[in-house]
């Protein structure tokens, strides 16, 4: 397999309170992403520590791989809608995928 079969996409990673997982995924799907991966994480920020000790303290990491424009739209939407009230961290990175139609 040659490197020509690799395709550029953008990965948006959203680390957020677990309570908004469902609505984040719903919004992301509506805004054009095709798939998602969620894992439970714990950590801290300037706002404090979330060590995931019980239900109300859980944090998720949501990974979305999609076209750059879609990733940007989702990131802007999350920034505008969720960050005023919820604990959210986000970052974007360029990734290369093998089967672009999946994303």
């Amino acid at each position: 397999m040659t490197t020509e079969t690799r395709h550029s996409k953008t990965m948006l990673v959203i680390i957020a309170e677990a309570v908004i997982e469902k609505s984040l995924i719903q919004d992301a799907l509506e805004l054009g992403t095709h798939g998602w991966t969620v894992s439970e994480v714990h950590g801290g920020s300037l706002e404090g520590v979330r060590d995931g000790a019980w239900e109300a303290d859980r944090t998720i990491e949501l990974k979305l791989i999609c076209d750059t424009a879609v990733a940007d739209t989702i990131a802007d939407h999350v920034l505008e809608t969720y960050t005023p009230h919820y604990s959210v961290a986000m970052y974007l990175s360029e990734v290369r995928v093998l089967r672009p139609e999946r994303f």
Binding site: E17, V19, A53, W54, A56, D57, P84, H85, Y86
Partner: protein
């Protein structure tokens, strides 16, 4: 003499305060909480199978009403304490809803003291989980509507998704599920699983309280951050609400144990169902404030002092 399960809670708090690396695996926490909810439900269901359901209607209605009224009563008081509308509504919802573990400790304390109580009390717990949350959301939304500058960017969870969250969330689903299974299976049906679901109950509760001690211990530092308001609310609300609960229990003609349980349920604050629901429905409220009051102040207070107090109160009024 402090009940042995409470000592486990104290051990958890101590471990956190001294910075121990003790941490229960999350999967175990999840398993223990599922076990406790199911076991409490099953125990209550057994009793339901023995009596006509219609006779329970007044108790069911009273439990629903009590849960709904508590946030409405607390809201103006919390506003007087200079809490914002969203915070007052959210905190009220936590107290309107109930703590299943506080209930579990109360029934073990009653059993230990040899005081009889209505065995279907788990039904009250299941019914009191949601109304307080609904009242809290209504209060927050009403305040938001009347505010001149509304934040249009606040994500608005619909009632459908919220009721789905509350009614089909783990706590209510397992409690009601256990109640129904217990009621259908009856004593004979439960007998083969008794050694798993009924007998080890107290041991599992002890282990769960160790974990809750760790969680509450971690929250203690937050108490200082919120200052006197949280301590005042967390300590003063439970005994006052317990009187309301006890009064309701007496009006319903419950046994001494039943009155103590109603008082305990009214006095307890939710730290599982309510935080999640309020975080979704009223995101502008400070979640740490409510959780700190419910888990770091009220929960330990009820465990150590409240429950014996409510049992004494029930004895005095019945």
């Amino acid at each position: 003499m402090i009940d042995v399960v409470v000592l486990f809670f104290i051990l958890g708090v101590f471990a956190r305060l001294v910075g121990s690396d003790l941490r229960l695996p999350e999967a175990l926490y999840e398993t223990l909480s599922i076990y406790l909810l199911l076991a409490i439900g099953l125990k209550g269901g057994l009793e339901l199978s023995r009596q006509p359901l219609l006779e329970l209607a007044p108790q069911a209605l009273a439990a629903l009403a009590l849960g709904f009224i508590i946030p409405l009563l607390l809201y103006p008081v919390l506003r007087l304490l200079r809490l914002g509308t969203a915070d007052a509504a959210a905190l009220g919802a936590h107290y309107g809803s109930v703590s299943v573990v506080t209930f579990a400790v109360a029934i073990t304390a009653l059993s230990k003291a040899g005081i009889a109580y209505e065995s279907h009390a788990a039904l009250w717990v299941a019914l009191m989980e949601a109304p307080g949350i609904v009242a809290g959301i209504l209060l927050a939304r009403r305040a938001e509507r009347s505010a001149t500058a509304t934040d249009s960017k606040t994500p608005r969870a619909g009632w459908w998704s919220l009721s789905h969250e509350v009614l089909f969330g783990k706590s209510v689903l397992l409690l009601i599920g256990g109640l129904v299974i217990g009621a259908i299976a009856g004593d004979k049906g439960i007998a083969p699983i008794q050694s798993v679901f009924i007998d080890p109950f107290k041991g599992v509760l002890a282990l769960f309280l160790l974990e809750l001690g760790l969680v509450a211990g971690a929250r203690l530092a937050e108490v200082r951050r919120f200052g006197l308001t949280v301590v005042l609310v967390g300590l003063a609300a439970p005994p006052v609400l317990a009187c309301l609960g006890a009064f309701t229990g007496v009006m319903l003609g419950l046994s001494t144990g039943g009155v103590a349980i109603f008082a305990t349920l009214a006095a307890s604050a939710s730290y599982i169902a309510a935080p999640t629901a309020m975080r979704i429905a009223v995101p502008q409220a400070n979640a740490a404030l409510s959780i700190t009051a419910a888990l770091a102040v009220t929960f330990p207070f009820n465990l150590l002092f409240g429950i014996p107090l409510y049992i004494a109160l029930a004895k005095a009024v019945t």
